[in-house]
């Protein structure tokens, strides 16, 4: 039976390097030839939130389309206005935002406490310090933009909830990370992390509400080449730290609309074991890309009940962008951090497509 023999060989190869004990511990099977895979199960922008929000948002949360509309076009001022002048003009700004001054005061997240990583190695005046004070110089200016927008705040914000839910539901948005060159999940001074887009659903538990390690994902080497990036780094005391030059993350919204994110200078910092990898993704996100994906994802009605004004956010993104200046000196990207959770998965690379993957892998950054 040729097919059986082939599969047998595949499975046999899986156990190489784990024959130390007389009887193999099946949980050790998850590392094959120095390789272990994980699949993303949770993704949220990293926002430092106090219980009532008063510390980081002392002026309260930002207004959304409804509130701004009432201010711009009061119903009781006696003026007659057309639909074109009011509702349509305002909605068109979502798709055609500008940087002209507006009458609203945008409420940026305040304070010195924040979540994320020190991306530039410096401690600047706008940087944050981690809540426990252990890390200074945290670069997360996106937090200043969206930290006081109700839609983004967890656990009740619509975007907070649905961004994650749709990532879990939509196979397009399946994010895989594969660690190779792993000698130990505790300490290893040279490992490589490669991202892929997966093609399969997440493995759920018996309740259907949680995600389990042990599933299998097919890496997309054909249509998902854009999402293959290579990170280099190390594992110290069970914490993986890796960095790359660029990373595109497949992302979707309600009807599996594609809202991919483009990240520059990204890095993962994850506490890892054979079942899970949890921690943070940080770097810089292209502000035009961020805005476009946000606008594409969230309709006016979602923005309205989440008090999220896209035109105001667009101005704030440009104001607070802190990296990758263009030829005119305007920054084009903004620092960010995201809380991420992965569970272990076996990653299957279609044999005929694997050969092509090296050529299309984005370069690692050392």
């Amino acid at each position: 039976m040729k097919h059986a023999a082939k599969i047998g060989a595949l499975f046999a190869a899986m156990t190489v390097g784990f024959a130390g004990a007389a009887v193999a511990d099946e949980s050790a099977n998850v590392i094959r030839n120095g390789t272990i895979g994980y699949v993303l199960t949770d993704y949220h922008w990293a926002l430092y939130q106090t219980k009532d929000g008063k510390a980081e948002c002392p002026q309260g949360f930002n207004d959304g389309p409804r509130e701004q509309f009432k201010i711009l076009f009061p119903a009781d001022d006696g003026k007659k206005r057309t639909l074109l002048e009011t509702q349509l003009a305002r909605e068109s700004q979502i798709w055609h935002p500008d940087l002209k001054p507006e009458i609203f005061t945008f409420k940026e997240a305040q304070g010195k406490t924040g979540l994320g990583m020190n991306l530039d190695g410096k401690v600047g005046p706008n940087d944050f310090t981690s809540p426990d004070g252990s890390e200074k110089g945290i670069d997360n200016q996106l937090y200043r933009v969206i930290g006081c927008v109700a839609n983004y705040r967890g656990p009740d914000g619509t975007l907070y909830h649905f961004n994650n839910k749709f990532m879990q539901q939509h196979e397009y948005a399946r994010v895989l990370i594969e660690l190779t060159g792993v000698d130990s999940l505790v300490n290893d001074n040279d490992v490589t992390l490669t991202t892929y887009r997966g093609r399969d659903g997440l493995l759920t538990d018996a309740t259907g509400n949680s995600f389990m390690p042990g599933g299998t994902q097919r890496a997309d080497h054909k249509w998902g080449k854009e999402f293959i990036s290579r990170f280099k780094g190390k594992i110290v005391d069970g914490v993986l730290t890796v960095q790359a030059a660029e990373y595109h993350q497949p992302t979707t919204w309600a009807f599996e609309d594609v809202t991919d994110q483009w990240f520059k200078d990204p890095r993962f910092q994850l506490k890892i074991n054979q079942d899970r990898a949890e921690g943070m993704l940080a770097g810089y996100v292209d502000i035009e890309n961020f805005y476009l994906q946000m606008a594409r994802a969230v309709s006016t009605h979602h923005q309205s009940y989440g008090q999220q004004s896209s035109p105001s956010i667009y101005r704030a993104l440009h104001k607070l962008a802190d990296a990758y200046p263009d030829k005119d000196g305007h920054n084009t990207a903004i620092s960010f951090a995201a809380d991420v959770k992965f569970v272990q998965t076996f990653i299957e690379h279609p044999a005929v497509e694997t050969a092509a993957k090296e050529a299309d892998t984005r370069p690692a950054r050392h």
Binding site: A4, I7, F11, P213, G215
Partner: protein, 579 residues
């Protein structure tokens, strides 16, 4: 209550009883008729000396209720595999280790009858649907809006022969045609009328019950044998889990099936058919008591990876393994308990911590894996555990009762389970708990029979996942089986492989499954077991030995035999360790 109102025609003739006593089982006592002449000699062995079959074993004529699977398999043969009604027949009582034995004790209640009727109506409607009628009904009515007796008669007698498992008597065909015609005229639809007659056939007790009839054996005055049609049915339901096909009925019509050569030809044809797989899946599903899967539930908080899909796949994994090993590869039955070869599905792969392919795939556990044989498959481990914890006792009991045919006595009514049931007890492992439980002399007797081998499976939790510790405490998986010690589950599999009761239990179960009940005496079983050993414990050879034996076709007027009960004992003889 009037049962089977649409089909009461030749019931008396077919069952050789005045009425069908649907509430209780009985063996037909005096159904004799003219018959052919032959007797079946013992089959020749492939090698080595051929022992002679003992005389005297004969099963009672039985009346068995067709199982749901048999009913559906028969429909699939007669009408095609897409005639697959969603139905759930009532379960029968497990008797002497098999559900199949329970079919000879099964009755039909009002509500069951209603279910049969609904199923029959559903099937009849499917058969005459416009998209099927042209190829299922091989004649066309002169007018679709009126009766056509010629076409109805042709169709009903053709399918009736397959459903009733013998040629239709002209009077019965006429009765059904009359029914179809009256309905067609009334409904102004030939096919609707035909559906009424089909429905009547499908709820007929002559269809739903497999009634065995006999005839004098011409070569042995005073002895009775199954008549040709009953023999065809017994063979077919045994090996294919379905009614006889056209070729078998032809062999019955000509009497060929009653000759040594003809019967061997039929048996060999059946053993070579892909339908043997269906038959043997049904047998092992029954023997392994896999109907327990229908009620299997695990606490999702304790075993989050064990889902509803896992349940179905665990059952399927074992059945695929059995069929692959015993039929496809014709391996030694005992190797089922040591072989590392199996099949893997995506759902199971997650529990075994393996990468999966998109569908079922052959898989072999590596040589250093803690898993080898059926005992270490999730089916055995999960079914014989509690919803939230493993159970050395349940696993040991199942090993004794299911695989060694050694019934374990029930616990006394006043047994104190507090030691094993208290989740907050001070005992670190299941071993500690059962050892403490065994300190009670009332419990010790039985637990000595079950626990030493059940503890060898403690490296697998209640969902069948591997573990090397229980709440941080290392697991000692050593154990013993009837004098043979081992250090883990792989050793237990080898001890079971070498246990003499393993093969004799299979012989006992296969024989009972094929003939509808336990053998009267051990002599025939011993003879079959000897032949089984001589032939290297190959299942197809065992099936051939049993089906071609004289005992298989001989019937008696005796009351049904009770299975001899030999309880498991801590003093049981030591396992055969010669291999």
């Amino acid at each position: 209550m009037r049962l089977f109102t649409k089909a009461s025609g030749n019931l008396k003739q077919a069952l050789c009883a005045s009425t069908v006593g649907l509430a209780t089982a009985f063996a037909l006592a005096s159904c004799s008729g003219p018959g052919a002449e032959t007797r079946i000699a013992a089959p020749a062995a492939k090698a080595g000396k051929v022992t002679a079959e003992p005389e005297g074993e004969a099963s009672p004529r039985r009346l068995r209720l067709m199982t749901q699977e048999q009913y559906l398999n028969t429909l699939a043969y007669v009408f095609g595999p897409d005639i697959k009604p969603e139905t759930h027949f009532a379960p029968v009582q497990r008797t002497d280790g098999l559900l199949a034995n329970g079919t000879a004790k099964a009755g039909v209640t009002d509500s069951q009858l209603e279910l049969y009727q609904k199923t029959a109506a559903l099937v009849a409607g499917m058969v005459v649907k416009p998209e099927r009628r042209d190829f299922l009904i091989m004649c066309k009515p002169a007018d679709e809006k009126a009766a056509d007796k010629a076409c109805a008669g042709k169709f009903l007698s053709d399918i009736g022969r397959l459903l009733y498992r013998q040629p239709m008597k002209p009077a019965k065909v006429a009765e059904l045609v009359e029914q179809a015609s009256a309905s067609a005229d009334k409904l102004k639809d030939f096919y609707a009328g035909l559906a009424v007659a089909i429905e009547a056939m499908l709820v007929s007790p002559n269809v739903l019950y497999i009634a065995e009839t006999s005839e004098p054996d011409p070569k042995r005055p005073g002895h009775q044998r199954l008549d040709a049609y009953s023999l065809a049915s017994r063979l077919s339901f045994f090996l294919w889990n379905a009614a006889p096909d056209d070729a078998m009925l032809k062999a019955a019509e000509t009497g060929e099936i009653l000759t040594d050569k003809g019967k061997a030809k039929i048996v060999n044809m059946m053993l070579a058919s892909p339908r043997l797989e269906t038959g043997m899946r049904a047998f092992f599903d029954d023997m392994f008591a896999f109907d327990d899967f229908n009620n299997l539930a695990k606490d999702p908080m304790v075993y989050p990876s064990f889902t509803g899909v896992t349940t179905g796949d665990a059952r399927e994994q074992t059945l695929r393994t059995v069929i692959d090993q015993l039929i496809t590869k014709n391996r030694d039955y005992r190797d089922l308990y040591t072989s590392r070869e199996t099949f893997m599905s995506p759902s199971l792969a997650a529990l075994y911590r393996l990468p999966s392919t998109r569908t079922w795939t052959p898989y072999e556990f590596p040589a250093d894996s803690p898993r080898a044989g059926l005992l270490t498959q999730i089916s055995f481990l999960a079914v014989h555990s509690h919803p939230g914890r493993s159970s050395p006792t349940l696993r040991g009991k199942a090993l004794r009762e299911v695989l060694l045919c050694q019934p374990v006595p029930r616990p006394p009514a006043n047994v104190d389970f507090s030691i094993v049931n208290n989740p907050n007890s001070s005992y670190k492992t299941q071993r500690d708990r059962v050892v403490a439980h065994r300190s009670n002399p009332v419990c010790a007797g039985c637990h000595k029979i079950t626990d030493p081998m059940g503890l060898a499976l403690e490296n697998f939790d209640g969902a069948g996942r591997y573990r090397d510790n229980e709440k941080g405490n290392p697991i000692d998986a050593s154990g013993s089986l009837d004098g043979k010690d081992f250090k883990d589950a792989v050793g237990l599999g080898q001890a079971l492989h070498d246990h003499p009761a393993l093969t004799s239990c299979l012989v006992k179960r296969v024989y009972a499954y094929g003939t509808g009940g336990p053998a009267k005496s051990d002599e025939t079983l011993k003879w079959v077991n000897t032949r089984f050993a001589e032939q290297g414990y190959r299942l197809p050879d065992l099936l051939r030995t049993i089906t071609l034996s004289q005992a298989f076709a001989d019937v008696s007027d005796d009351a049904p035999a009770q299975a001899p009960v030999k309880s498991a004992s801590a003093d049981a003889p030591a396992a055969n360790t010669s291999k």
